[in-house]
């Protein structure tokens, strides 16, 4: 289980360089995510937040540098090690990325079937548990993704990401497109899951409220690298134009006030 909060780096990104042909997204980027924390990654549009996430989860091969997950160099690892890492993380994509030809419950059961070889009653119970834990009603299980609202798709995507009881969960803008009540509930859900399951969460977000309520540490992407990383208060004190504008703009102040009250 969770155990005492160690400060072991569970994701270590070193000297990362990613590019699309000539367009360099990151260069010399370093980032550590510590076991058991919720790391929020923020940055302006186009600073490569999602690309960073894709580089860590193996979808965008970096042109330089390395990515260590669970102390294994992911891009140098053999297929078996890669698979064992992939079983230990769950990913929620921006639009949910549910398989459109399967029902929600079948979506959640897919990794359980494939990776654990569990079928039948136990797999259904596990799917029901995950679906209920992310706050979906039981009847949502038999629906197809096309029949769900945006918020329900996100929840269903999270249920699938949690199917294998991962140690790390990657969330790409989990609260984008949710109403404020739904977004707050989603933040709370992630904090609860982190507490009870001992998750490490890597979250790309724009949502200042999420940063305040959920994140233990925040990393700011700008100028193709991480310009600040630490607890929110430390980051907010950093003397950088973008950071100041981000946290001291009207929305930043509103989120801070909401937190204080």
């Amino acid at each position: 289980m969770t155990g005492p909060q160690s400060s072991r780096s569970i994701i270590g990104v070193r000297n990362l360089r990613t590019q699309f042909s000539d367009f360099v997204v990151h260069t010399g980027l370093d980032l550590d995510v510590i076991e058991g924390e919720i790391m929020g990654v923020v940055g302006g549009s186009g600073t490569g937040k999602s690309v960073l996430m894709r580089a860590i989860i193996g979808l965008k091969t970096p042109s330089e540098g390395n990515v260590r997950v669970f102390d294994i160099d992911f891009y140098a690892a053999n297929e078996r090690d890669k698979l064992s890492i992939e079983r230990r993380w769950g990913v929620l994509f921006q639009g949910g990325a549910l398989f459109s030809s399967l029902t929600v419950a079948q979506n959640v059961m897919a990794p359980i079937r494939e990776h654990l070889g569990i079928d039948g009653g136990l797999a259904e119970d596990m799917a029901a548990l995950k679906i209920s834990m992310v706050g979906l009603p039981p009847e949502a299980g038999s629906k197809y993704p096309a029949e769900l609202s945006g918020g329900m798709k996100k929840r269903a995507g999270l249920a699938r990401a949690l199917a294998l009881d991962p140690e790390i969960v990657f969330l790409d803008e989990p609260t984008a497109g949710l109403d404020p009540i739904g977004a707050a509930a989603f933040d709370q859900l992630i904090v609860n899951l982190k507490e009870s399951l001992g998750l490490t969460v890597f979250m790309v977000t724009h949502d200042l409220d999420t940063l305040h309520t959920a994140c233990d540490r925040v990393a700011v992407l700008a100028e193709k690298r991480v310009i600040a990383c630490g607890p929110l208060d430390e980051v907010r004190a950093t003397d950088h134009a973008w950071i100041q504008e981000y946290f001291s703009g009207p929305r930043g102040r509103a989120a801070l006030a909401a937190k204080a009250s």
């Binding site: 548990l129 038999s142 096309a146």
Partner: protein, 378 residues
């Protein structure tokens, strides 16, 4: 990570059932004991149960769910039924799980098999009729939109039309040329072999000429275009449909018919006759070369013989069909694209349907033309 496999022991102390789960209670290892634990829970419904967690080395949500499920099965006397010996993290996990044990629906709701058969039959019939109706209505809309832009030619989207003319027409030249050349050559070979028996090799010219000009050139072009461009139209428009791009066009006051469908229809109706003409010529060239190489019919003789023996009507009979084929392929490609509904599966089905229907209708129309030509002696 060498945790002992998950097991459990059962004991009774002072009339209270005791369950001792042991080892690694994580999903991977639990499938084996799931049935046994269910049996145990079924047997002990209504009895008091104490679950001693002290032997559990690892616990995840699945393990917690199975323990909580077992505890819930054993009656509601919570003052006796409880957990002992766990860590605070384990209790936290069990508490979190306990609210989420309701089973959920997995499959879409289904009726029984016989009813399902009947329902599918009825639905299939009605759907087929509806599909035919909506296809006709789509063709009608296309024609009306065509009339509208012909009256007001500034509304024709030339950029898009030329783009599709290049993609569906020009880019298809190599494959169509290769195919028709080979077919022309194959027909000439067949002719050479059989006609030789009658010492009538020279009739190879008529065989190749008439079959390629009348049927094969245009038909092969239509088949390749249906496979190449009809499917592409469906996929393009279909994926736009999935991502609500077509709705976006509508609310911007743009008619998807004019923006998406007409450029594709115009492009094919303009390009397929040109491609069919090219196909016919290259098919003849294939026949000519085979005749030259295997039967010593020199090209000059082949051409002279062809000019004399093959009436020009054969050429027109083929070319007249080209725009009809083009129209059908383009309209069906676009229509099926518009019918795509939100899933990847639907896109696949519609793309398949688009090619199958286009090919079917091309052959049907070809047959009608053949009968028509026969009647009017063309």
């Amino acid at each position: 990570m060498t945790n002992p496999a998950a097991t459990f022991d059962i004991d009774v102390q002072e009339g209270v059932l005791q369950l001792f789960p042991k080892g690694d209670w994580r999903a991977k290892a639990l499938n084996r004991i799931d049935d046994r634990l269910r049996d145990f829970a079924d047997d002990s419904v209504g009895r008091d149960l104490v679950i001693d967690l002290s032997g559990v080395e690892r616990l995840d949500t699945t393990g917690a769910m199975m323990l909580q499920r077992t505890l819930n099965a054993c009656g509601s006397r919570t003052e006796v039924s409880r957990y002992v010996g766990g860590t605070s993290a384990q209790y936290a996990l069990l508490t979190q799980i306990s609210d989420h044990l309701a089973p959920c629906f997995v499959e879409p709701v289904r009726a029984n098999a016989a009813l399902l058969m009947l329902e599918r039959l009825g639905r299939g019939t009605i759907d087929a009729l509806k599909a035919a109706q909506s296809l006709y209505s789509f063709i009608g809309h296309t024609l009306i939109a065509t009339a509208r832009v012909i009256v007001n030619p500034r509304r024709i989207r030339w950029t898009s039309t030329f783009h599709h003319m290049e993609e569906a027409g020009l880019d298809a030249v190599p494959i169509i040329a290769l195919m028709t050349f080979l077919i022309g050559a194959v027909v000439a070979f067949m002719g050479a072999k059989i006609l030789k028996l009658f010492n009538a090799e020279i009739f190879t010219v008529e065989l190749v000429g008439i079959s390629v000009l009348r049927e094969l050139g245009v038909l092969l072009t239509a088949i390749l275009i249906a496979g190449r461009s009809g499917s592409a139209f469906t996929a393009q428009i279909g994926s736009m449909n999935i991502r609500e791009e077509i709705d976006a066009l509508r609310v911007l006051g743009l008619d998807p018919m004019e923006v998406l469908v007409l450029p594709r229809v115009f492009a094919l109706v303009l390009m397929v006759p040109i491609l069919a003409f090219m196909a016919a010529m290259i098919g003849l060239a294939g026949g000519l070369i085979v005749a030259w190489l295997t039967m010593d019919i020199p090209p000059a003789l082949f051409l002279a013989r062809g000019n004399e023996a093959i009436h020009i009507n054969n050429f027109w009979a083929g070319m007249i069909k080209a725009p009809f084929f083009a129209f059908v392929i383009a309209v069906i490609g676009c229509y099926q694209g518009m019918q795509v509904e939100g899933s990847a599966e639907s896109l696949g089905q519609r793309t398949t349907l688009s090619v199958v229907q286009a090919l079917f209708l091309v052959i049907v129309i070809d047959a009608f033309f053949a009968m028509f030509y026969l009647e009017i002696d063309f």
